[in-house]
Subunit: 257 residues, 4 copies
């Protein structure tokens, strides 16, 4: 009998030069996959090296977290680029982090686009295809992380990549399966008990209640968590306990597609 | 009987966004190794992709050309960094270009530091060691290019890398084997006939006459040429003819150390 | 009797470090206003200083050409920013160029947003207002250049600024007065004779024939020209001759609103 | 009878995009002059605008804090540049912050170079002259801050600028008046009581005991303090109390040269 499992992922290595963001050392104790910035929207060659070493020492899987070349906007601003250019920048960033991983005696397990690139890849088939193609061309064993049900995971599956459907711990869903926009009053799930219950149900039953009360089918291979505030970190600890209490293993082997 | 051979290398892929530098398509017809900028001092993910494709289609070997993160100074300004940071930025840039090469169905053959990093690695053992270590950690088959007789080639040899002693087509040498500084009146060899004669002698006899008239032992595995001016490109054509006329093959197999 | 006049403007000072763009010295012989890049989408402190000096020595009026902070995209990619941030970056760039002008013993006459910022300011009232407010807060004597009939010139007029309605030498117009999109087959006017005739009519009669044959009212205070190709430069020379032959002075005093 | 006074200055506005550094709101309660980063080594157009507003609302004088264009190195790495380029980048940055100040209804009072530029200007007459010339060309009323006794203050005085001799609250001095290098074991004065006593003596008597026990003449117009740690901030509070207890006013009018 297979054991239920779910991956917990978090963005890491977002510091830059003297500028520090996040609480990486602490977050690494609680997650199974680290999305490491690659020097475009955040991170630099020094931060990448330190972060990969830290993740390795905590036994946390690492992945590339490519973003737009926009440090000032932290990769959160949409920039119009051709799919060809998005392919190129994805290749570049995966390559840079792969080399850092090699220098540390480890290797990448996954790729998850960052910020505006993630959002655009969810909605835009051409961008999704460009990213999936870049990942495949780099290493067909890499797991592509994308918003559950998005163009990005479809593109990955089409290319023959392993994909991870990603869900968010604290967000509501529309009847069509998309995230309730942040501009809506009910975008977020603030109650931690409820958020935990919803996550457990997604993992066990593959279902989530949308904002209109209907039940949606949803895949939840990996949960995106935040760790930059004491509050957020505390929630992660509780979520992990709840998962373990329910017999759900934290972490994925990614062996089967 | 082994045939004499020498590599001709040139810096390529130095354009950035809309900014164009060089005459890459034309230069590629005349060289055997292309040093491709990796996005730090010059180049970007698009330029790198195009340049690797072009080099491949011309049968020219490609190498990473890592430099300081200083686009405004084109990597020509010395920046004080720890050997650890130089190791990290070398790894990053080799990784980025390796990925681009992989996407193009080819791979890197060599690494040559750029500009101020090249000069600092020639004189500073710690920097030389950091670069050689980074190259070795990435791929022990990579050939490290450095100024002939410099700390950089020594560091490469010590690590067990294949190295290429590099000479310059148009520079004079001091009695101690270093380049006559550009600040000196006789830094350059302007006469093309003389420059060609000197290069032929370096390749065939391993000797060069220093500015004081004494003969120096010198290794000349690869010749650095420039191709961004009609004049420079014309010299390269003549040099190539002269080499071939003398039975010296252009290009290296780099098989033996 | 007032003499008809029209300003000829061109983007200048777009080089960056070792990267050269344009033919500024030559273009300056033919224009009356230079839009000088301010270090965000192009230009740097050295290029700005040289360009202002050159423009001054040619008796050409200078203006700030603020753009998005996107050297790699040359300011041509739309970036979502709040009006507040657009106000801030406009202030910053006008200030930087004003200081350079002061160091050269001259001062700014106008401001023209660049690339994507120009296009967004034409269509988006909030962005137009932010730019006009920034210009007014810096110096109420500055002339704001914007696409003829656009939100930007309206915003400038509303704030009490002098504005210059800008037309393009080589573009067709839609019946509603907007530029025919570049994606359309008939976006451009390629025939130089026709282009010249159209410009003369815009200046003298304030009219232009739209792509559907109808006549539009149009204001033409300043004509945007290009000077980076021999062909373009040649057209400017001919246009200038035609204007002078018709008794239209090149250059504006901008005294009256 | 004139009242003794001394200025307390601190570096502010060093955040960048999402990256936060410092505790500006708190520090502003305790200082009389704020050195505001200008977007080269730190800061951006948004941070500059907010910081100037905050300083104004606290009645703190503002000054430009120009640095090398090196966000990754935070302006702390020496970069070789010609005096001409240093003049240009100083003009650019003063201009950018002046415009921001104008937008906020205030103006700059002083200029203090940052990090490596400050250190190089202390030791190198050509760099000192370039900065002093840039300040003078921008506004002859600006006060130039430099290390006490350095080339920078000499250059400022020679140009006819008001200058402020700057001392450090926690550093030891060599017999020749230079700072004891940070590489020396006794570079720092760790004891707050002793540091306070030394500062009081510098302000009142113009004297400081060097590391060899000899007494040096020293000018102390402004004291550089740090505010990014609770410890540092606490020291500033105590120092201010001690100054006031001794009848020394915090803040300078800079009226007389």
């Amino acid at each position: 009998m297979s054991v239920l499992s779910v991956d917990l992922n978090c963005d890491l290595g977002e510091s830059y030069g003297l500028y520090k963001i996040g609480n990486d050392e602490e977050v690494l104790k609680h997650i199974s996959s680290a999305n490491i910035a690659c020097g475009y929207h955040a991170g630099d060659h020094n931060v990448m090296m330190e972060t990969v070493k830290m993740a390795k020492s905590h036994g946390v899987k690492i992945g590339a977290h490519p973003g737009f070349p926009d440090l000032h906007g932290f990769g959160r601003r949409e920039i119009n680029m051709s799919p060809r250019e998005i392919y190129n920048l994805t290749v570049y960033q995966i390559g840079a982090l792969s080399a850092v991983a090699k220098a540390c005696g480890t290797k990448l397990v996954h790729v998850k686009p960052h910020g505006a690139l993630y959002n655009m890849a969810a909605k835009d088939k051409l961008i999704a295809d460009a990213i999936a193609e870049a990942v495949m061309d780099m290493d067909s064993e890499l797991v592509l992380f994308g918003l559950t049900g998005s163009w990005l995971v479809k593109a990955g599956e089409e290319k023959g990549l392993k994909v991870a459907h990603e869900v968010f711990a604290d967000r509501n869903y529309q009847p069509d399966g998309t995230l309730t926009p942040r501009s809506s009053a009910n975008a977020m799930v603030h109650d931690e008990e409820i958020a935990t219950e919803r996550l457990l149900r997604m993992v066990r039953e593959g279902k989530i209640q949308a904002v209109d009360g209907t039940d949606l089918e949803i895949k939840a291979d990996t949960i995106c968590i935040h760790g930059d505030e004491p509050h957020a970190l505390n929630f992660v600890k509780k979520l992990k306990q709840a998962l373990e209490y329910e017999g759900i293993a934290v972490g994925k082997s990614w062996v089967a597609k």
